[in-house]
Symmetry: C2
């Protein structure tokens, strides 16, 4: 691992774990067992720390990380990595001047903090020698070609971390950089960019990361340790693709229905028996597609996601926020890509097809009236 480890006082670590355990027990995040496992591994880290086996990093140079797509996700997790001691720089376009001058202010339920990037650049080409990690927090839209955007700054040892929604989004990047390690990242977080250099972290924050397409990864372990060191629960999975499908079980119903149902939060979407049935049908379709694609999910995942969401504080999805602000929505990442997998495997997904077509019409209309 490229270092940056810092020893955390036992008390704050335990309190962090306990408060998160309490939080998850109360709110039952969609993929609850992940959370529990994450906390378990953190308690294991604490035990190791007690035994003096985990020490402050002796690494001479903390990792250099470049955040591409410094919106809510990139700003928040980039800032957390900076807190953990990494040398984090950020690519900013519209927010360039503000972030140069003042950094990114993050109002967080975990405690407010300021993220002052080591460097702020308006294009990756200005960054200099390739970083150890590129953290991609870009939205997944057809017009955004991730590989092309980062090409100028990817070195032979650069790890590309895609903290993005969707399935089958890693392959196009892996194809362009066949010799680089790709890490798929999934953020279970409620975080919003509220203005230039301003991010609001409202709830949750857990990460699941893993080498794409599968397997062990020291670099993923290293990144997870950085996150865990600053109390961001981060689990390393050996099956990143299945983790993507698993997150889609939640995203595929709730994001589209929040928009198409007339602007609804999670509570409103689960308020009628009809809408719960629709949510369930869509989740079942995702499970069937995932299974056909060779990534079966445990059968209880549907009920767990519904129960977990019911216990959450009412939450406005990212797709609804995009829609309300007249921005393009992640229609392909949330539905289109999965439906193409469905067609490839001959799996019927009529509920998802209906949502997909309606969202494409809405998206088109938004672009026309902008």
């Amino acid at each position: 691992m490229v270092g940056g480890r810092r020893e955390l006082p036992f008390r704050s670590c335990l309190l962090g774990a306990m408060s998160r355990l309490g939080k998850f027990a109360q709110t039952s995040l969609p993929i609850n067992d992940y959370a529990k496992r994450s906390i378990t591994s953190e308690l294991r880290v604490r035990a190791l720390m007690e035994r003096g086996k985990v020490l402050a990093s002796q690494s001479p140079s903390p990792p250099r990380i470049l955040v591409v797509g410094t919106g809510a996700i990139g700003g928040f997790y980039g800032g957390k990595l900076a807190q953990a001691g990494a040398r984090v720089s950020a690519v900013c376009r519209s927010d360039y001047k503000v972030v140069c001058a003042n950094g990114i202010h993050i109002n967080s339920v975990w405690g407010d903090f300021l993220f002052k990037p080591e460097r702020v650049v308006s294009d990756v080409s200005e960054y200099g020698p390739p970083p150890d990690y590129i953290l991609v927090g870009l939205k997944v839209l057809p017009e955004i070609e991730t590989a092309g955007m980062i090409k100028a700054v990817v070195g032979p040892d650069t790890v590309i971390v895609l903290v993005q929604n969707g399935v089958e989004i890693d392959q196009p990047v892996a194809r362009v950089f066949p010799d680089n390690e790709i890490i798929s990242g999934l953020a279970f977080i409620c975080v919003t960019r509220t203005g230039p250099g301003r991010v609001e972290h409202i709830d949750f924050g857990r990460l699941v990361i893993g080498r794409f397409p599968a397997g062990n990864s020291d670099r993923a372990e290293g990144l997870a340790e950085l996150f865990n060191n600053v109390n961001v629960p981060c689990e390393v999975t050996q099956d990143a693709v299945t983790a993507r499908w698993r997150k889609l079980v939640w995203n595929a119903p709730f994001n589209p229905i929040s928009v198409l149902g007339g602007g609804l939060d999670t509570k409103a979407m689960l308020d009628t028996p009809e809408s719960v049935t629709l949510v369930r049908r869509i989740m079942e379709e995702v499970c069937r597609i995932a299974e056909a694609a060779g990534h079966p999910l445990p059968s209880e995942v549907v009920q767990q996601n519904i129960d977990g969401t019911r216990k959450m504080e009412p939450y406005k999805t990212s797709m609804l926020i995009d829609f309300e602000e007249g921005r393009p929505m992640e229609v392909e990442a949330i539905l289109g890509d999965a439906l193409r997998v469905a067609r490839r495997h001959g799996v019927a997904a009529p509920h998802m097809e209906t949502l997909y077509t309606l969202l494409k019409l809405v998206d088109r209309r938004t672009l026309q009236t902008r």
Copy 2:
């Protein structure tokens, strides 16, 4: 038939038929063959007239007709029946004073006209002796109980004409009035109430009427003749229930998608291959439900409806107008009732189910924010 027939000059009748034939040839209304049949029967009427067999009515008293639900549909067709010589009265609530004072002004592509009801009442109980026909133009909403609303004025010989959307809407009325003739009516028209006492007729106008649930009806024939006499194409069907399903083939996709797609007219709904596919899937579901319910539709009806709509002037559906004006939408009439039939017969209709659930959520949201 309770009379009211008037002889029309040959020239105006022929011109009417020709201009409509031209119009339908150009626009290919969704159920094109109906239109053609209607025109054929009108030409037959003209031939009879030439032979002197159709004479001015010798009936001493033209029919007394009470319009209940004097909105766009009730105002327009009530006005046409008054033009045809019937004694048409109207139940008006919010528009009562305006209609009493000035009648209903109808701006029509067929020529503007004023509908001065014989009497304007604010409740059916004020009307007096039961009419020959009650023309119901009410919207089909769960909170509107048609039978209860007209009960006070239904006499033993009163015919109840339901010019309304939906399937299975006639049965509840027939159950309350088992000895009265019920006529199902379907209006293929683009007409809008633009204000108190104001109706805008933008396109089309054809009617299909028929005795519920099926069979011959002198009263339906009489009503059709009144309409045809004032150049409203009106066809009498012996299978009213099938006609309702046939109209639903158009309504079930286009009304919901116009709202859920972000406010689209018919042209926008057929602008992408995905949306045409969705329209087709929904039409096919309606056909499967209709068939299971014992009312099979000809196989070409789906393609006819798509082709016909493509040729129409871009048209804003009634559901979209209701939505935009913050009024409740006919969700049950357009989808809910058909889906209950589907469930009864074990027919899967996942595309319609998705639209239905989304519309119910939107409708609920509209009511909450009103």
